[in-house]
């Protein structure tokens, strides 16, 4: 089969590899009908996430048709159409029973490695670092889904791939980020980053009733899409984020802040971002935390900071004094996808939202490597790439 494989920094290739096979009785083999490039794939592409190995198959946003199931997998049958959440869950461990699926205690097959780096294991993830199990991803013709009976989300036949594909990651990720904000009708919610997760966070915050949603970025077409979803936008190349946010909130600051940027903040004109770049170049720091610093500084006291953006390692100069003295609450984590999928599927069926609005590019799998570059460079108005194997 064909698969997009990581061969090093900025080196993704469409290779021919052996087809996957059932390895465990709870497995399923999925024929991928649609897959997408996620913003967090770019962290791998750019070489910021440790634990990648040459030949790893990329991709954690995918869906398709069940081709084969293991003997113990009684929930799925051949021919079922499913979305596959990017977090692999067992459905049985203590964390899964609590709904904390992204920290499933069973599915990371490299637990020891994760425990060494993070203190404890987190769930296995598709197409990601070996810290999270190193499972082959879904940017391929076929994929083996471990624990498929617990994680796969069946899709009603009347919904298209475009409508449901993003239930596997970015829609629930934006939704969880907004839910974590405990949004009240009087709230101003500020969202850094107008990429795909930021776009879904904007719409989630609107649906959850925020009085004012503000989105911060510097890419014109992304800001236009955020405005279409109901956000007031701030172009950080054109105006001061802090001043504008204070203007919009009568000097009080946003009640809730969402970091939909993560470790590769691209602000380039602030002193702290130059500092981050310098430390990164000297391998003294792994992540660029400009957005976190700005959020902590501007957030209203007693507010909430929600972090769906991916961080991988160590950051420096976090204003912990401001965080503590302002009494801010921080909520973060990979998305507990299966906690939200039933509810969000129902919202899609009820036509409350159509997630396909975010798709800007459709290509074949062979064009995938080139699209990593287009997406990373935000060329050609690229916001979300969907590939059809």
């Amino acid at each position: 089969m064909r698969a997009l494989r990581w061969h090093g920094r900025e080196d993704i290739r469409c290779d021919t590899v052996p087809d996957p096979i059932i390895e465990h009785s709870r497995d399923a083999i999925i024929k991928v009908s649609s897959c997408a490039i996620c913003g967090s794939d770019l962290h791998l592409y750019d070489g910021f996430v440790p634990g990648m190995r040459s030949g790893d198959i990329m991709g954690h946003e995918f869906m398709g048709e069940v081709m084969e199931v293991g003997a113990e997998n009684k929930r799925l049958k051949v021919g079922d159409r499913v979305v596959v959440p990017f977090t692999i869950i067992c459905g049985e461990c203590d964390q899964c029973r609590r709904g904390n699926y992204s920290v499933c205690e069973q599915t990371n097959r490299n637990k020891k490695l994760a425990e060494t780096v993070f203190g404890h294991t987190t769930a296995g993830l598709f197409g990601y670092t070996h810290l999270t199990g190193g499972y082959p991803g879904g940017q391929a013709d076929f994929v083996r889904v471990p624990y498929a009976d617990a994680s796969c989300v069946k899709v009603p036949s009347d919904l298209t791939d475009d409508q449901v594909l993003f239930l596997g990651d970015i829609f629930p990720t934006g939704w969880q980020a907004a839910v974590y904000c405990d949004i009240e009708p009087t709230d101003t919610v500020a969202i850094w980053g107008a990429g795909p997760v930021g776009q879904f966070a904007v719409r989630s915050a609107i649906l959850l009733g925020a009085r004012q949603v503000v989105c911060i970025d510097h890419v014109p077409e992304r800001l236009a899409m955020a405005r279409a979803g109901g956000a007031i936008t701030i172009d950080f190349d054109e105006e001061s984020v802090l001043e504008r946010l204070n203007d919009l909130t009568a000097g009080k600051g946003p009640d809730k802040c969402i970091d939909a940027v993560g470790l590769e903040a691209h602000a380039s004109r602030s002193i702290d971002s130059l500092y981050d770049r310098a430390k990164q170049a000297m391998m003294l720091e792994s992540d660029r935390a400009h957005v976190l610093r700005e959020m902590i500084y501007v957030c209203r006291p007693a507010g909430i900071i929600s972090i769906p953006g991916v961080y991988g390692g160590l950051v420096d100069k976090i204003p912990l004094g401001a965080l503590m003295n302002k009494g801010l609450t921080v909520r973060s984590g990979q998305t507990h996808v299966n906690r939200w999928t039933d509810d969000l599927m129902r919202r899609i069926e009820e036509r409350q939202i159509d997630p396909s609005f975010v798709i800007t590019h459709r290509v074949s799998l062979e064009e995938g490597p080139m699209m990593y570059k287009v997406f990373r460079e935000k060329q050609d108005g690229c916001i979300k790439v969907v590939m059809s194997p």
Binding site: Q352, D354, Q379
Partner: protein, 163 residues
């Protein structure tokens, strides 16, 4: 939904690598500038310009100014062109180097020649890149994802969803 924009696609350009190169040039400028200011005598000696440490330190200040400009500006194009002009000045100065240190002088000239080539490529790319960016961007203003206006959807998830 704007169908036309959904299908818009063009092959990738070398934008990423060139942007990274521009930033590296910024850091290179700062590094070279610091060297020229902190050790002007030794630098002048090594490039075949013995006794001209004052000139070398002045060039160092120019390099640092260029580097900071490249790294701090939203559009580094003028700063890269300034670097290119500086390269020409450097080559002209090195060409007047001390004949007794001709071999080191030639090495320095070759190095500056290589950097000049990179600067010229970046200057050309940045100029064309910004010309391209000045073209209209895709219009996503109709991509709300909502069936009604965003204002009408505000708080919709707070209401009970019909079974």
């Amino acid at each position: 939904m704007n169908e036309k924009s959904l299908t818009v696609y063009s092959p990738s350009s070398p934008a990423g690598s060139m942007q990274a190169t521009v930033r590296r040039l910024g850091w290179f400028s700062i590094g070279l500038g610091l060297l020229e200011i902190l050790a002007p005598r030794a630098t002048a000696w090594r490039v075949g310009l013995p006794g001209r440490q004052g000139l070398v330190a002045t060039f160092g200040a120019r390099e640092i100014g260029n580097g900071v400009g490249i790294l701090m500006s939203k559009d580094p194009t003028p700063w890269i062109w300034a670097r290119l002009a500086g390269d020409v000045l450097d080559i002209a100065t090195l060409a007047t180097g001390d004949n007794r240190r001709r071999s080191t002088n030639m090495v320095a000239l070759a190095a500056v020649g290589g950097v000049t080539l990179i600067d010229a490529m970046c200057a050309h790319w940045l100029t064309t890149f910004h010309a391209r960016r000045s073209q209209p961007v895709p219009d996503y203003s109709d991509r709300s994802g909502f069936p009604k206006s965003a204002e009408a959807m505000r708080g919709a998830a707070r209401q009970r969803i019909p079974a």
